[in-house]
């Protein structure tokens, strides 16, 4: 089947088998390895990307479901030089250790801050509660998101 979608600002038209997931499409067809896989069942959030601004588990979406969608991955969030303010907040606040859940966490935080520029701590916890991190105990991630919220005014 043919799928047309926008990935990180670039519109693509691809022939893929109907069983292809968005995760497979990103990783295997487009070599965008920043999107990670673990549970392959939509639970852990390592494969989180943004589709039309919403955080989704790319392992649980078939390519056909993202026809016409605007997909943002960690590669698309990262500027040519330096880091996006949310990424920088994760670095500065020790919001990562092994780094495997990090792209998904950062994109989830991006979706949160786009929806709600000034979330409370409780709102952050509820929103971020779906993604699994095995290293940090989440404390550093919470500090990072809170720092990004504080800085929110200074970036567009």
């Amino acid at each position: 089947m043919n799928v047309t979608l926008t990935v990180n600002g670039e519109t693509l038209s691809l022939d893929v088998p109907p069983s292809t997931t968005l995760l497979d499409l990103l990783r295997d067809r487009l070599s965008l390895h920043g999107t990670k896989e673990y549970c392959h069942s939509g639970v852990c959030g390592a494969c989180t990307v943004l589709a039309d601004g919403k955080a989704v588990s790319s392992c649980s979406m078939l390519a056909g479901q993202v026809e016409g969608a605007d997909v943002l991955t960690i590669e698309g969030l990262t500027p040519d030089e330096g880091l996006h303010p949310i990424q920088q907040a994760f670095v500065d606040n020790f919001g990562l250790q092994c780094g495997y859940c990090t792209p998904g966490m950062i994109l989830l935080a991006k979706a949160l801050l786009d929806e709600n520029p000034a979330p409370t701590r409780e709102e952050i916890i509820r929103y971020m509660g779906g993604n699994i991190c095995r290293c940090t105990g989440y404390a550093g991630i919470l500090r990072s998101v809170e720092a990004a919220v504080k800085e929110r005014g200074s970036w567009s």
Binding site: C44, V91, C98, G99, T136
Partner: protein, 769 residues
């Protein structure tokens, strides 16, 4: 002489800094195993046993082999047909065949490997492999495995490690004891004797970066890329099995927590690659990781004799570890438990009996501090029962019994840096131990606080030797390359080693480059486990710089035509002390014409010369002491336990990267909340694991996160690099004990088994009424 304390200048050591690779990780630019490919790579799928215990009658792979796109199928027949391949492997117990030979010993045991041009074809062909089994009775837990007439999981024993002692004719693959004093006399002298039995569940590590391997066998040379935690032992095992040189390369690893500490897929995929004549990649699925290595179930029986004032007089501890179908590494973990089973207390008469038992569960592996975690829960929970029974304050009871510097541990070790009292005070103060607990006006939610104390070992050789080296080289661009076998698994090891190397050389981070874990590019290292790297690799790095400096001085002396003794090291290069001449590191290496390099070792083990002139054994190179204080809220209607606050304090020696230590403690606490409150692998009566999918296996999330209070006691440790010790696992070790005790405080019920599921809590509360 211990060169490891290094110079007194510390500019990098002691500073909190994010990991060197953090920006690349935040950008998603770091490559993990699943992101690597090699040219002409084929893909493997493993055919696994659906049964926990069965004899293999026949394997028919002809249909799979005939499928277009299939390269080969490896079964026992191909392994047997290759005279140059050893059939069996294992790190401490050589009991695991590359693929199942005569029988399968756990659900998910490896029966065959299908190699194809792509993953989908391999998966489809794996379905076509026809295996006929003759089902055998399975022993799914320790009581079953020890029952009279129980089926033997292994009919013969093949221990490699000298300390392992199987009991022939049983499923006990290791029984060992340790003791001091006279335990029976101790009980006789006690005013009270308490006996309890505690259970801790089997769980899985759930490292998100799936265990994976690419193996290539070409021109008599093996090259393996894998995210395992022990590249050098793996390389040696590959060389033994295949009788050819092996190189092991480890990329950045996305967590392991012990699940990747020993080989389970690398050797078999190498056999498949040899047969295929092409590089083969294999990535476990999440469900397969649950059948590859798990943290074992623990049963722990404790008798403790005390005086009326709470002084411990005697302790007998018997424990049974369920090592699963293969004791590849589980038997050694069980043995190490002897060192810590009695806890951080002065006990004049003690005995520990350890039994490692084969069952038909998946093989067990270490898990962030195992087995100290399970023992800490047991002796700490029993301690609170004793305190309540004797009417002694819980903290006071601990203060009366905790070890101090100069005490002799059950292993015979002379304890140093034993700041156990400070840890206890720090942790309890951090959660406001003496502040009044909030009271639920409706009386449905109960609050309580609990505390735990521990002592933990690190891996230590039985005799004096170095188990790891480091190389430091001044290379072309004037940068110091630090070559280490330590696997960067997310713990921040590159950063800590760069801090240590930078200070040892008096240069900034920009002049240090870390090269890690490629067995052909870095010197030997035993493993990245047991919180050992900061101390052991840190010392080797310091020694390497000590060995490099005279070479650099000699070279600079010739270039500058100055006496070596008159030269000093500066951040930029080497200079005449009076400033009259200097050479930068870049110029130095350029003019010498080749890199200057030196290696350093870390010799440990042997005997410790005590300040009393006596000599003491060293069962652990350093001991880590820690305490956790936790506050919980128990919902008496739903049975839900919430950890509200959790403080952990540990003896870290000099804090090389203080904030990194704090985040390691937070991560350890957060991770262990799972097995304490809700994580548990469950098998049904037919021996089938019913919750191997993450959908059925809840993990801690941001919503279960307590308010953390990480603390550390950082008195420099004599012998450590700049005074540092290791600490990666200690945060998790102290959690279950503190939480069980906090629930006891809240409800009056002492639970003897974790996880503290709502069902158990409700049952416990009803039993009390």
């Amino acid at each position: 002489m211990c060169a490891a304390t290094g110079p007194n200048v510390t500019r990098l050591v002691g500073q909190s800094m994010p990991s060197l690779e953090a920006p690349d990780k935040a950008a998603g630019r770091i490559e993990y195993m699943a992101d690597l490919t090699v040219p002409n790579m084929a893909h493997a799928k493993v055919v696994r046993s659906p049964l926990p215990h069965a004899r293999i009658v026949s394997i028919d792979a002809s249909e799979a082999r005939a499928m277009p796109g299939v390269v080969c199928v490896l079964t026992r027949d191909e392994v047997r047909a290759d005279p140059e391949v050893e059939e069996v492997y294992g790190f401490v117990y050589r009991d695991a065949p590359l693929v199942a030979m005569d029988k399968v010993r756990h659900q998910g045991d490896i029966v065959a490997v299908v190699v194809a041009d792509d993953v989908d074809t391999a998966e489809a062909a794996a379905e076509l492999v026809d295996v006929e089994y003759e089902e055998l009775p399975a022993v799914m837990n320790v009581p079953q495995a020890l029952a009279e007439g129980a089926v033997q999981v292994h009919e013969e024993f093949f221990p490699i490690a000298p300390e392992l002692r199987p009991i022939e004719g049983t499923n006990v693959c290791h029984h060992a004891t340790i003791g001091c004093g006279d335990v029976e006399q101790g009980f006789a002298e006690s005013d009270f004797v308490y006996e309890d039995e505690f259970l801790a569940p089997p769980v899985q590590h759930c490292a998100l970066d799936l265990h994976a391997v690419i193996s290539q066998v070409e021109d008599g040379q093996i090259t393996v890329w894998t995210n395992c935690q022990s590249p050098f032992p793996l390389g040696r095992e590959l060389e033994r099995i295949f009788k050819m040189p092996a190189r092991v390369i480890i990329p950045y690893v996305g967590g392991g927590f012990g699940s990747k500490s020993r080989d389970r897929i690398e050797c078999v995929i190498t056999a498949a690659a040899k047969l295929a004549g092409r590089p083969v990649r294999y990535i476990l699925t999440q469900e397969e990781t649950f059948m590859t290595f798990i943290r074992p179930a623990y049963r722990n029986r404790m008798r403790t004799g005390v005086k009326r004032d709470g002084t411990i007089v005697a302790r007998h501890n018997e424990f049974w570890v369920d090592v699963g179908g293969y004791a590849i590494s589980g038997a050694r973990s069980a043995n190490n438990t002897l060192k810590v089973a009695t806890g951080p207390y002065r006990i004049p008469n003690a005995r520990v009996d350890c039994y490692a038992v084969y069952t038909n569960k998946p093989p067990s592996s270490p898990y962030r501090g195992l087995p100290t975690t399970q023992h800490t829960m047991s002796y700490e929970a029993q301690f609170d029962r004793i305190a309540r029974d004797l009417g002694i304050d819980r903290l006071e009871l601990r203060r009366r019994n905790l070890v101090r510097d100069g005490d002799i541990h059950i292993t015979g070790d002379y304890l140093r840096s034993a700041h156990s009292h400070e840890c206890l005070e720090q942790a309890t103060e951090a959660i406001g131990w003496n502040e009044p607990l909030p009271v639920d006006p409706e009386g449905k939610k109960l609050r309580g606080r609990g505390v735990s104390c521990t002592i933990k070992y690190t891996l230590t050789p039985a005799r004096e030797m170095s188990e790891n080296s480091a190389e430091v080289a001044l290379v072309e661009d004037g940068v110091f390359e630090v070559r280490i076998g330590t696997v960067n698994i997310g713990q921040g090891s590159d950063t800590v080693m760069a801090q240590i190397a930078g200070d040892a050389l008096s240069v900034g981070l920009e002049s240090v480059r870390i090269v890690h874990s490629d067995t052909y590019r870095v010197p030997v290292d035993s493993s990245t486990t047991a919180s050992r790297s900061t101390y052991h690799m840190g010392r080797a790095v310091v020694e390497a710089t000590d060995n490099l400096k005279p070479q650099m001085l000699e070279a600079a002396s010739q270039l500058l035509e100055r006496e070596a003794a008159s030269l000093v090291f500066t951040p930029e290069g080497i200079a005449q002390a009076d400033g009259s001449a200097n050479v930068t590191y870049g110029e130095l290496v350029e003019r010498v014409g080749s890199p200057l390099a030196a290696t350093g070792d870390c010799v440990v083990g042997g005997m410790y010369a005590g300040p009393d002139g006596k000599s003491y054994p060293i069962a652990s190179t350093f001991w880590t002491f820690a305490s956790c204080a936790a506050e919980v809220e128990v919902d008496t209607e739903t049975g839900t336990v919430r950890v509200v606050k959790a403080a952990a304090s540990a003896t870290t020696g000099t804090a090389v990267n203080p904030h990194s230590i704090e985040t390691q403690l937070e991560g350890g606490i957060g991770q262990e909340i799972g097995p304490t409150l809700f994580e548990q692998l469950v098998w049904d009566d037919g021996g089938q694991l019913i919750n191997a999918a993450l959908l059925d296996y809840p993990l801690p999330t941001m919503e279960t996160m307590p308010e953390y209070a990480p603390r550390f006691v950082d008195h420099p440790f004599e012998g450590g690099p700049f005074g540092a010790k290791g600490m990666g696992e200690i945060g998790s070790v102290v959690v279950p004990g503190a939480v069980v005790n906090a629930v006891y405080d809240a409800t009056g019920v002492l639970f003897h088994e974790v996880p503290l599921t709502p069902h158990k809590i409700i049952e416990g509360l009803e039993g009390q009424r």
